[in-house]
């Protein structure tokens, strides 16, 4: 057994050196420009909303902007575009709210054949569930800190 442990350690070290590394600069560039474009699109939507609806506040426009981006990303997921964008941009299309929308729509599509309740509804949050849980936990902690200070 001792011999195996030693062998496995050497093998994993050897494997780590053999694994091709992702080139950081092109990956970062893809993520930067796609992520930036999504954010820019968001800003344009918000500005247009405030331009079209005179009585809309910045906060209200911000909420509608998110709704529009979420719907848009969901639609792009449904027609099979967002996964290709994600493969190209990585974090650039995962981090914005559109990525969150994709992470909910894609399992919903995938598991709809297992039924509405235990398929679609139950599996909808398999990817985004941790984000929601951590978001709520973080807000509870922030709330407690707010009460104290």
């Amino acid at each position: 057994m001792m011999l195996d442990t030693e062998r496995n350690k050497h093998y994993n070290e050897y494997l780590q050196n053999k694994i091709p590394k992702t080139k950081p600069w092109p990956t970062l560039f893809h993520a930067f420009w796609v992520g930036g474009t999504i954010c820019l699109l968001g800003e344009i939507i918000k500005d247009l909303l405030m331009f079209w609806f005179n009585d809309m506040t910045v906060d209200e426009a911000g909420v509608w902007e998110l709704v529009i981006l979420i719907v848009l990303a969901s639609l792009l997921t449904g027609i099979g575009v967002y996964d290709k964008l994600g493969a190209y941009a990585g974090a650039g299309s995962i981090v914005p709210i559109t990525g969150f929308s994709n992470s909910i729509t894609s399992p919903a599509l995938e598991f709809r054949r297992e039924g509405i309740i235990f398929g679609l509804c139950a599996k909808m949050f398999v990817i985004s569930g941790p984000v929601i849980v951590l978001g709520i936990v973080a807000s509870i902690i922030a709330g407690i800190i707010h009460i104290i200070i």
Binding site: R7, N8, K9, Y11, N12, Y14, L15, K18, I19, P20, K21, T22, T77, G78, G80, Y82, D83, K84, L85, G86, A87, A89, G90, S93, I94, G99, N102, S103, T105, S106, P107, L109, E110, F111, R113, I127
Partner: protein
């Protein structure tokens, strides 16, 4: 004892391949073996409502094709030995339900083709069957769903990842006097060299291929150059390089006669990183390219080593390393038996 060395079965009656068939998906049909496959699907859903049903249908099509190729009827098949990647090997069992043939389900993950051939050849060599069909199937979309992420999720695949083949291969073995023969097979041991990266199957499976190949060569007291082709199932680019290194460390050189189905399946332009994987990968290449070349005598002796990672999504999440297995089957052309 029909056994040589520690774990190599010798089939004295030399079960013959009397029929074979391969069906692949559209992406595989644009790959390097396009001209060899019997059937290339235009639609990888096969008109089915779910990918699981599509996978089952794919296997049915392939087995039907192999039985027709052998000029037999399903009722003349004594046993069907098949397996796949789905939980509880549902694709194979559901296909067996509609084919109505006595059925043995086997699971060896991506090593299934070698395992089913080995079991099939044993049944024939032991005179328990006249005709046996050995088959396996994998489907990209059903495998992604079970093992990875939803298809439409916008994630990046890591550079060590491989692409599960949509494809199936089936071989009909029989007690016959002519045709490509299965002469021996080596049963692999589970090898776990403590690789935990599920995105590096090639690296995890290479030790299993190495141990089986090493055992096989020792059991039969032969050198790798005894074979015109040593073909691993789906180690991919990285895994096959690792296998070459591991053999080199033992002082055995794997030369130009070594190839890997996974590495060769797709063209470089098809963006699949380390190549193809899945039990359909080795199965479809074996039942098209390899058997055609054995039949037309451009290959004499082939060692087919299919490798499988025996993990489940659950064991990965629980932090377990990846146990792997490899089985080897020797196929020889008619004149070289």
């Amino acid at each position: 004892m029909n056994r040589q060395g520690k774990s190599t079965l010798v089939f004295n009656s030399k079960p013959r391949v009397i029929g074979n068939y391969s069906v692949v998906g559209p992406k595989e049909g644009r790959g390097n073996f396009a001209q060899y496959f019997d059937r290339i699907l235009e639609d990888d859903t096969l008109g089915q409502p779910t990918y699981e049903k599509a996978e089952c249908k794919l296997l049915e099509l392939c087995i039907d094709g192999a039985i027709s190729n052998a000029k037999l009827k399903p009722s003349q098949i004594d046993c069907m030995v098949a397996g796949d990647l789905m939980n509880q090997i549902t694709s194979s069992s559901f296909a067996a339900r509609s084919l109505n043939i006595p059925y043995l389900g086997v699971f060896g993950a991506c090593s299934t083709m070698a395992e089913s051939l080995m079991v099939g050849a044993t049944l024939i060599d032991g005179k328990y069957a006249n005709n046996v069909v050995c088959a396996t199937v994998s489907h990209f979309s059903s495998a992604e769903k079970q093992f990875r992420y939803p298809l439409e999720l916008g994630t990046q695949r890591p550079p060590t990842s491989q692409w599960t083949t949509t494809g199936s291969g089936a071989t009909v073995l029989a007690q016959n006097s002519s045709g490509v023969a299965i002469t021996s097979a080596t049963i692999g041991k589970v090898a776990d060299w403590n690789v935990t990266d599920v995105n590096n199957m090639g690296g995890a499976m290479a030790p299993a291929a190495f141990e089986t190949l090493w055992q096989h060569l020792n059991d039969l007291s032969i050198e790798p150059d005894y074979y015109d082709l040593i073909l691993t199932g789906d180690l991919g680019k990285l895994g096959s390089e690792v296998l070459i290194d591991l053999m080199e460390n033992k002082g055995v050189h794997l030369g130009a006669n070594y190839s890997d189905c996974g590495q060769m399946m797709f063209k470089n332009t098809q963006k699949v990183f380390m190549g193809a994987s899945g039990c359909g990968c080795g199965a479809s290449v074996l039942n098209s390219y390899v058997l055609q070349r054995l039949k037309n005598r451009t290959l004499k002796r082939v060692l087919f080593i299919a490798t499988g990672a025996l993990l489940s999504p659950l064991t990965c999440q629980q932090g377990e390393s990846i146990p792997c297995i490899a089985h080897a089957v020797v196929l020889k052309g008619e004149n070289y038996v």
